[in-house]
Point group: C2
């Protein structure tokens, strides 16, 4: 699925402005640290979370000139988690470039992630210079902090799941709700809070963003199993190799007969598993109908999210339509 011209053009403006804001924050010494911190951000990314911030701000009348600082904040926080995730998962490639610890070593990569985390707060504080009230900035900081805590919890669950014998679909959804959807939710809330959205809309926006955040992660798992590596920017099957309990794997393990179950478990999380073995496991997972199942579940989350969004009362209805289009995109995107 491609985005409409209207959304694509706004997304591109948000991406450029977010990058500009981040660049404004990213100078300091030692140079190596700042280079390491900016490495993944410069390599690209969809800038989806900044877009959620900018659209929800626009819904309630706050222009990108101001909301771009909040957009920069959530993108910084997101990239902080990626830098640390890559160390934890020992991933060597992301966005088509070597990961931060591969280039600068693990020690500096840990600190580079920490710096991005701190910078995400600096970005929010800049809102004070643009006339956003202390009270609203404090609320935005509360949301960012909640996201950082919740993402850490989700990340810990993801790590712990690898060595768990049995993980249920409910456990997986709970993990994804924290690891991925929490920052989607905070992005929407930060954008709307700094724009002065009415209190009663916040819960609806939360529901919307959480739902599409979960759908986004389900789609991410799918793409990790079937997308071209040129599009993925990293090796296919890395989730399988790392033993990640994705929705697809959980579903397949539940449906498989003993022979197939053994085959999957035999390769899952084994560093020495060959490419051919992993390909075979992926084929088995697909044959068991995991993709149909996960697609249906993702679509259901999107439907639920869209419903919540419909009940909001925005000042600018066009932004809401754009958010709805984005919701459809997260489950249908091919990268």
């Amino acid at each position: 699925m491609e985005l409409s011209k209207r959304v694509a053009s706004f997304a591109s403006a948000v991406s450029a402005m977010t990058y500009k804001r981040i660049e404004e924050l990213a100078s300091g010494r030692p140079a190596e640290l700042y280079e390491a911190s900016m490495h993944l951000i410069r390599a690209g990314g969809k800038r989806l979370r900044p877009l959620l911030v900018a659209l929800s701000s626009k819904m309630y009348g706050l222009p990108l000139e101001v909301s771009s600082w909040a957009a920069a904040s959530v993108e910084l926080l997101h990239n902080f988690t990626l830098v640390h995730d890559d160390i934890i998962d020992r991933d060597e490639l992301r966005r088509g470039v070597p990961t931060v610890h591969k280039v600068w070593g693990e020690g500096l990569a840990i600190v580079a992630g920490d710096l991005l985390f701190a910078k995400s707060y600096e970005a929010l504080l800049r809102l004070l210079d643009y006339g956003v009230s202390y009270e609203r900035v404090a609320s935005a900081i509360r949301e960012l902090t909640w996201a950082a805590i919740t993402v850490a919890e989700g990340q810990a669950m993801d790590i712990l799941f690898v060595s768990l014998e049995r993980v249920s679909v409910e456990d997986y959804i709970e993990m994804v709700r924290r690891k991925t959807a929490a920052l989607f939710k905070s992005s929407i809330l930060i954008g709307s809070i700094i724009a002065g959205a009415p209190e009663e809309d916040l819960a609806r926006l939360s529901e919307f963003a959480t739902s599409i955040g979960i759908a986004f992660q389900i789609r991410d798992d799918e793409l990790g199993l079937m997308a071209d590596e040129s599009v993925l920017g990293k090796p296919r099957y890395s989730d399988l190799r790392e033993g990640k309990k994705t929705l697809l794997v959980l579903y397949a393990l539940e449906r498989a007969d003993e022979v197939r179950r053994r085959k999957i478990l035999n390769s899952l999380g084994r560093p020495g598993a060959t490419r051919a073995e992993l390909e075979d496991v992926a084929k088995t997972i697909v044959e068991l109908g995991a993709l149909e199942y996960s697609n249906k579940l993702a679509e259901e989350f999107v439907r639920r999210g869209a419903e919540a969004l419909d009940s909001t009362n925005p000042r600018d209805a066009e932004s809401r339509e754009m958010l709805k289009e984005l919701a459809l995109y997260v489950t249908r995107r091919s990268y």
Copy 2:
């Protein structure tokens, strides 16, 4: 040097209250993550930064009941940096217990550090429930963020220094100003800002805290070379083994003849260096007069800091006297 009864008794109240606040923030799932995060905090520590917060708040009339949230915040931030430092330096022992990554593995330790970082903001936000204004809390958040950024820069310098041929004393002071003194400074500023200290006192308090922060780190380097391991809570000479360019090492390298220079450089940062070799290097460093030099420099920083403190206008002069005593303590402490 022992602290006077007056300071020791206040310090103990601050320590207990800070710990209580942190415990209030430290429940969540998964349990392993929260256990890992709390591990070092439960193992103890001097709680010096909380004491700086509490005393500077008290100087301007804010009671511990309120300032303890800010005290918890800086202690959380401090422990976050320790958890990550230990991974980076591959240290296995701290405060007499195994480090977080030794117990829970590196992945969970990285995330446990990240969680503490996020929790340090949550602690500051609690001040809003105790009647501290949005504006003051925002200023405190700005200080905490500045410290986090600056500590990351200092930590990166520390990492990069290991592989640098030549590091000057000025470089070292600059590194320590960031890595250690920045959080001393922010602790004092956060404490005084939330208590409503007059603007003109803030620069003086900054000067005071920065100076004693540098002196504290110089003393820390000294203790790493000569203190009992039971007191250190970690192996002696770990700085030497990790190739750290401490003030003592820099001074010794500058003063040594070629033979001694070779001897020091030959063991510094060599993982295989024997205990006897490191003992010999330490002896050489001491013989070259490094301790007298570093002691003098630390005392000079304390003198300068105390002078700045004298020019403040506190509501409660007793707290200022207690801060001055603390300043003397940082260079004379034996652990």
